[in-house]
Every structure is written in C-alpha cells, then in structure tokens.
C-alpha cells in the first residue's frame, strides 16, 4: 500500500513539475551509488604545481617486474605442467555441436552461438499466458559494507535433466529444470576482493570427455573460469571436482602473470572448448596503468587441465609458459567477452580490447596496434593468429569488442555461400567476415577520421565502416538534440555540448576541454551479442545510443584527485574502478569519464531513445525488417524516480536476445526491469513481465517435462543502476506449472 502510494506520488510529481519524466536510468536504485566521476571542464585539466607532491606520479603501482604475492593465486594451487598438442586426444562429440531439441547446451545455445531455439510451444498466440514457474536464489549479492559491484549477467545452460549455472561469484549449481530445485552446488569461495569492475559470471561450459568412459565421474564436466583466475572442472552429475583435471579439478591461471592484485584480472565469460582445447581469456581492469598484467590468451587441455599454448602479443613466437622470474608481456590488449570456437576450421575467434591505459595510445607497440579492437582468429593447435580483422584503428574510445561473434552461412554479393562470421561492435557497425580468411563478405569502406588533439598521440587517418549492414547507431549529435525536463536542464546540456570537442564519431581525446564519445563505451552492441534464426534468416540486434563525456587530465591533477591504480598500496578496495576516472599510470595522462548526462537529475543530456532493437533480414539484402525503441519509462525518471509510464522511450540496455522457431524474440536487457516477448516478424511486443531486479543478462529457453521454459537472470547491473538481486526467474505456461 505504502509503496504504491510512493510510486503514484513520484509519478504525479514527475508529471506535474516536469514536462518529462522518462529518461535513461543511470540513477540510483537500491544499494550503491552512481558513477561519481566529475569532468573537470575547459581549462581545468591541470592542477597548480604547489598542490601536488611531485611532478612525476606520486601514486604508482609496484614495479611491473615485482614478483607475484602469494594471495593472488586464490586457492594456492601449485603450478600446472604443459602438454604437447600431439598428446591431446581427439575430441568426443559435444552436446553443443548438435543440441538436443529442448536443450541449450552452450552460452549461445550451439557451436554457432546463434541463440536460436527450435522450440515452438510458445508463439505470439500462446506467450501471453506465461507465468513464473520458479525462482532460484544464487546467494550472491552485495552484503552490508560492500560496494555494489554486482551484475550477474548469467545465462544458464540446459543439458538433459539439468540446468547448469553459476552465481555472480562463481559458485556452480545444477538445478532441476522443472522445479528449480538445487540438485548440487559447488561453492568456490571467491572473495569480495577478487571482484574486478563487476561480479559477473556469464555462464559455464559443458564438456564431454573422450578419455573418461560414459557412466564414470567427469565423463561430462562443467568447466568454468572464475573472477579469481581459476579454471575449474566439476562432474556434471555430482558437482564433485574432477580429480584428473589440473590439481584436483582446478588450475591456477595467475601462473606466469607476474605482479598483480586480486580484482585486477578476472574471468567473466565461459571458456569455449575447441577441438579438445579450453581457451581462456580474461579481463584486465580498464584505465589503471600502462603496464597492467598481460592480456594473454591461453589454451589448456580440457581432459587434463594441462597448459598447451599461450598467445602473448608482446612475445608472439614463444607459446610456452614463462618460467622463473619471467612473465607474459605486460599491458597487452585484453579480451573479456565470450569467445566462439570453430571446430571445423580449428579456430577460436577472440574479441580483443585495448592495451593498458585505454585513452592514450602513444605508448602502444605496433604489434599491439595491429590486434587491438579486433577479431583475432587463433589456431587452436598453435596459439598463433591465422587472421586478424580490426574494427577500430588505434582505439582510444573503449570500443573494445564486447559481443560474442555468431557463425552462419551467408550468400555473399557474388552469389556464393560462404562460412560467415557476424561481428557486432560497440560502434554499431556490424562486420560480416569470411571465417576462412577474415576478409569482409559484405562491403567495408575506409572513411576519413578526425585528427588527434594530443601531441605525440596521432589518430588513424581512416576507420572502417561496414556499409553493407544497417548501422546500429543514431545520427551525429547536434546542439538541438539536447534534452531535459525543463528548458533549464536543456540549456545546461547545450552548454555542456558546446563546451566539448565533438567532430562526430572518433572525436579524439583532449586535454584542453572534454570530448564526446558517441557511440559510447556501452555500445552500439555490447556483450548481449546478437541472435540469429537460421530458418528465417532474421538477425536480432539490441543496441545503445548513450554517449560518454570524458577529458584527459594531467598527472598532477590525477595525483590531486588521488587517482591510483588498483595495485597501488594506498588503494582502497571498492574505490573507483573501470568506467569511471582512471589513473592510466605510466602514460602522460589520466582519464575522467562519465555518461553525457546532467549529474543533478541523472538524466542523459540528449533526446531519447537511448536503446533500440532491430531485426535485419540476412537472406534478402540485409534490410531492416523492423526497428523500435527498447524499454519503457516505467522504472525510470529524473533523480531515478520511477514514473510508471509504459511509454517505450528506449532505455540503455545490457544483455541479449533469444529467437525461437515459435516466432518469438525474448529479451530483457532494458533498464525498465521487464522481460518481453516480441513477434520476430513484426517487432510487436506481445508479452511482458516485471522482473524482481534488472534483467541485464541473456535469457535462454529450454524444454523439460514436455513444456517450454524461458529463463532470465534478474541480477541487475550496478552501472546501469538497476536493482541487484540473486534471482533466476523461469517462466512457463500454466499447463507446465501444474505438475
């Protein structure tokens, strides 16, 4: 009663005293505060000399050559040995290669990562009757005194009689897919300190052994990479550690990484198994220091957990594990998004990010420049790139590759059917490549890009534009696109717009005044990736239109602001991390960055929509079938007040979609905390339900007990300011629930 009162009052207030009540929810909801970054503004990027202790950086991490402290190896695991590729048995047939009709055995359901399910019980006609079948609590959420860094982002997988998933802090569980009852749970005791930017576990990997006979423990395994850098394998039937994998089921992935602290490097995406090799990537916290830990990609034997190869950009000819005091080259581009394995070509497609010190590229090596913000096709036998396709040159906009690429067959302009790779980007440019060569199938144009503003850090003269695919972006910003509740906040935003450098996309970083990045670092497309219906040829893409506002600041100013890398001894856990101000220690500058918003009302500065969903017909000339704003204003408003309005304003979104043979697209993602079903052919929203928290995760669907279920992790997202919960919500028709 009281709550509904409050909502009504808030909605009434918002309507009465403002023209507008809907906006991007970047405003507090639940625990944790908003990103606190303030942008210094024109002429304020430096600090008077007398205010700072020294010209050079006062705050600094330890030497990059310092030895690794014992606690960084979370479970105190001994080193793992190596195994030669020739000793790895050929891989047994995997569930994900040919998924059972009602299963969802991999993060993107199948080896192609299509996020397509052949299930048909739910259709635009029946979906309206969906009810909650069960809710499962993972037990991972911020405890009192902990900064809210949570966004579970989890997608369960379903194989046979089990729904397998992980909590935001990596505990693994098997649930009954009909009742949600926990069948087993493997606690991994990942500590709060090990949470990097976000406590997330996007999913686990199902692997069937070729060595362990059927019926024996660990014939079928659940493999997971953890926030504290362990590679873990447990028996799918019991949840017991696989004794023959690594050291009793665990491998220490901090081996060879050198100096680090908990939370600096972490795994949040499920590691793919390609021809028997588990390929592991990890995120390195953005914006900390030029000589951050390595972004090395490594392959391990999925049977024994032994090391097979490393791909170290700074040391590309040495694929072995470093020994003694040596470590993988520091500061190299990291890869945090989900990778896709291609068993037929023996490749793993690695979506890469940027070298350490994300907004200054003057210190990057040519080798780093060649492979950052790219898709790198690594040969899983050798760990060497077979081809590289770069989507942004000399990226200083945090356009790191967030999406998992999707494999499909596409008839190109030449009429030939080619094995294709759909490569979504944060820029909203979707590249379509030939998987064999990395060459674009659909045309790509090189277009001139704005010049640099910072001496010693020139920008690339041109950037690639995928003109053969519809652009998932809005037109360039103009002053008249500034928005607000009233003329006054609109005026504020106009001044903010005019005070910054803005030459359209690829506006270069600047010190003299802020610059606007649009698209922002939330995309375009981000980690939600895309779903593809191979029968209809419809590709579903949800994307963002949310600019960022940033400014380089001098080292003196950074010291005055007490910006320090996470491995500085003065660093306090829970203090600023990626996506906010960053010290970029080891480069000449630090970074101040925030959404392009009115920090008082927490409304984005430009007109909505801020989030969209688009259906593209890949079989008939890559035309847009339908496109509309995604997300309503119901949970959003000035100062974070919910308005209750069902107006589809289009909110920022994180998380992806599912497409089904029943002709439905399931997606949550938006900050209105709803899950919805959309008619695949018309784009009409045919069903929606309110989640207990933010639906910033990829949903999945499966069949159990003869009925179709839809599962979504309502884990929320700290940066999206949606309510964080530990609840997996599973929907089904009433017939399925009466059991």
């Amino acid at each position: 009663m009281r709550r509904s009162h409050l909502l009504a009052t808030a909605a009434g207030l918002a309507l009465a005293c403002s023209p507008l009540a809907a906006h991007a929810q970047f405003a507090p909801a639940g625990s944790g505060g908003p990103p606190s970054a303030t942008i210094p503004g024109p002429g304020n990027a430096d600090e008077p000399k007398e205010n700072t202790p020294a010209d050079s950086s006062y705050f600094a991490g330890p030497s990059p050559y310092a030895p690794q402290a014992p606690g960084v190896n979370a479970a105190n695991l001994p080193d793992i040995g190596s195994i030669d590729i020739s000793e790895i048995p050929s891989m047994a047939p995997q569930q994900s290669a040919n998924p059972a009709h009602g299963d969802w055995p991999a993060y993107g359901r199948d080896d192609n990562q299509t996020r397509y399910s052949p299930l048909t019980e739910l259709t635009p006609e029946t979906v309206n009757n969906l009810k909650v079948a069960f809710t499962y609590h993972t037990g991972s959420y911020p405890r009192p005194g902990q900064t809210n860094k949570w966004a579970a982002e989890t997608t369960p997988i379903k194989v046979g009689d089990g729904l397998y998933m992980c909590s935001a802090q990596n505990d693994i569980m098997k649930l009954d897919p009909v009742t949600g009852k926990e069948i087993w749970r493997r606690n991994l005791n990942v500590k709060y300190e090990s949470i990097p930017y976000t406590a997330a576990c996007k999913g686990v990997t199902y692997f069937t052994s070729a060595v362990v006979p059927e019926g024996q423990p660990c014939h079928n395994r659940i493999i997971e990479g953890t926030l504290d850098m362990r590679l873990v394998a447990v028996d799918a039937a019991t949840g017991e550690f696989c004794p023959a994998f690594g050291h009793n089921g665990q491998v220490n992935l901090m081996q060879g990484m050198g100096e680090s602290v908990p939370g600096f490097v972490a795994i949040t995406a499920p590691p793919p198994v390609v021809n028997g090799i588990v390929v592991v990537n990890h995120e390195v916290l953005d914006g900390q220091r030029r000589w951050a830990p390595s972004g090395v990609i490594r392959g391990y034997d999925a049977e024994s957990g032994k090391f097979v190869w490393a791909w170290d950009v700074g040391n590309p000819d040495d694929h072995s594990q470093p020994t003694g005091n040596r470590h993988y080259s520091r500061g190299t581009p990291n890869s945090w998004a989900a990778m896709t394995g291609d068993n037929a070509l023996g490749l793993v497609y690695v979506p890469t990010g940027n070298a350490g010190g994300d907004y200054y590229s003057g210190l990057r090596s040519p080798a780093e420049n060649a492979i950052s913000t790219s898709i790198v096709a690594l040969d899983v036998k050798t760990g060497s790139p077979r081809w590289v396709y770069q989507t942004t040159r000399k990226d200083v906009w945090d356009y790191d590759m967030g999406s998992q690429v999707t494999m499909m067959d596409l008839r190109g302009p030449d009429g030939m059917l080619a094995p294709a790779l759909i490569v979504p980007t944060k820029r909203g440019q979707t590249f379509v490549l030939d998987r064999r060569t990395g060459k674009p199938i659909l045309p790509v144009e090189e277009r001139p890009a704005p010049a640099g503003h910072v001496p010693g850090d020139s920008r690339a003269p041109t950037q690639p534009w995928s003109v053969g695919m519809p652009a998932l972006r809005m037109p360039e910003l103009r002053e008249k696109d500034m928005w607000g509740m009233s003329p006054i906040d609109q005026l504020y935003c106009r001044i903010k717009f005019r005070s910054a450098h803005y030459d359209g996309e690829f506006t270069a970083p600047s010190l003299d005044k802020p610059w606007i990045m649009y698209p922002g670092n939330n995309g375009g497309s981000d980690w939600g990736s895309m779903s593809y219906d191979p029968n209809t040829g419809i590709l579903i893409a949800n994307w963002n239109a949310s600019p960022m506002y940033a400014q380089l600041i001098t080292r003196r100013k950074a010291d005055a602001l007490k910006l320090m890398p996470i491995d500085d001894p003065h660093y306090k856990p829970g203090a600023g991390a990626a996506e906010g101000n960053g010290p970029m220690e080891g480069t000449p500058y630090a970074i101040a960055i925030a959404p392009f918003w009115d920090p008082f009302t927490k409304m984005l500065c430009h007109r909505p929509p801020y989030g969209m969903i688009t259906a593209i017909d890949m079989k008939h000339g890559q035309k847009v079938l339908w496109q509309h704003p995604l997300g309503t204003a119901r949970a959003n408003g000035p100062w974070g007040l919910p308005t209750g309005l069902s107006w589809e304003i289009g909110t920022p979104n994180n998380g992806g979609s599912v497409v089904t043979a029943g002709g439905l697209v399931f997606i949550a993602a938006a900050t209105d905390n709803q899950i919805r079903a959309i008619d695949e052919h018309t784009g009409k929203v045919v069903w929606s339900a309110v989640l207990p928290g933010g639906g910033q995760a990829n949903p999945m669907t499966y069949e159990a007990n003869g009925h179709q279920y839809v599962a979504i992790m309502a884990g929320g997202h700290h940066f999206m300011m949606t309510p964080v919960t530990d609840q997996l919500v599973v929907y089904a028709l009433p017939d399925a629930i009466k059991h």
Partner: protein, 126 residues
C-alpha cells in the same frame, strides 16, 4: 472580496511568488544563455531571458505589463521551438511544456494584476 489597504490577499502573494519565479528563471536564462551564445550556441535563451527578467520585475511590482511580457516570451518560445524541432512532441516537451504551464498560471494572475492596478489608480485619485 474585501481588500484592506496595505495587506495582500493570498492571490496577490501567489502572484508575487510567480513573479519571483519568473525573475529567477529569467536570470538563469540570461546568465547561462550568455554563456551558451558565447560558445556559439543558440541565442534564444539570452533573448528570452531578458524578456523574462523584465516580466518578473513588472509582476513583482504588480504591473499587468509583466504578465503580457511573459505571454510574449511564451509566444516567442513556441515559435522558436517549432522552428528548431518542428511538431515533435518529444522535442517540444523540454522547450515548451514547462513554460506553457507557467503561462497558464500567468494568465490566472491577470485579474489580480488588474485589481492591483485599479487599486493603485484609486489611491492615486484620492
């Protein structure tokens, strides 16, 4: 309604308050609008702000002219808004909605301002 000399009725107080609000909004428009104009942005705010300041001052003084100046500024706002973004409700919201709500209140003050005027005239005649 009995009007005693020297004391204000509630409607007169509200009219005064509205005048103060318009004056403040006008000052914000002038100061921030000048900033925007110097950055090469729209000059609408600084022009509109000057009229709003005048409107607010006259309303505080109890002059009907204040109300008409506001309505003039509102008309300018609508013309400028339609010129800048056309008939697009989502874009008209921040520009014209709030000022129009204020405009309705201003219209309601016109009888009050007229009464104040006639009272001033009476006092002047005595």
């Amino acid at each position: 309604m009995a009007v005693r000399n020297g004391t204000k009725t509630l409607t007169e107080w509200l009219t005064l308050l509205l005048g103060v609000v318009i004056l403040l909004v006008g000052l914000i428009f002038v100061i921030m609008g000048a900033d925007l104009a110097m950055l090469g942005g729209s000059v609408y705010y600084v022009i509109c702000g000057i009229v709003l300041v005048a409107s607010g001052v006259f309303m505080v003084m109890g002059r009907t002219l204040g109300a008409f100046l506001y309505l003039g500024a509102l008309a300018y706002t609508w013309v400028w808004s339609l010129w800048e973004v056309g008939v697009s409700p989502i874009d008209l919201l921040p520009r014209a909605f709030g000022p129009t709500i204020l405009g309705i209140l201003v219209v309601l003050t016109i009888p009050v301002l007229r009464r104040l005027k006639s009272r001033r005239t009476l006092r002047g005649a005595v």
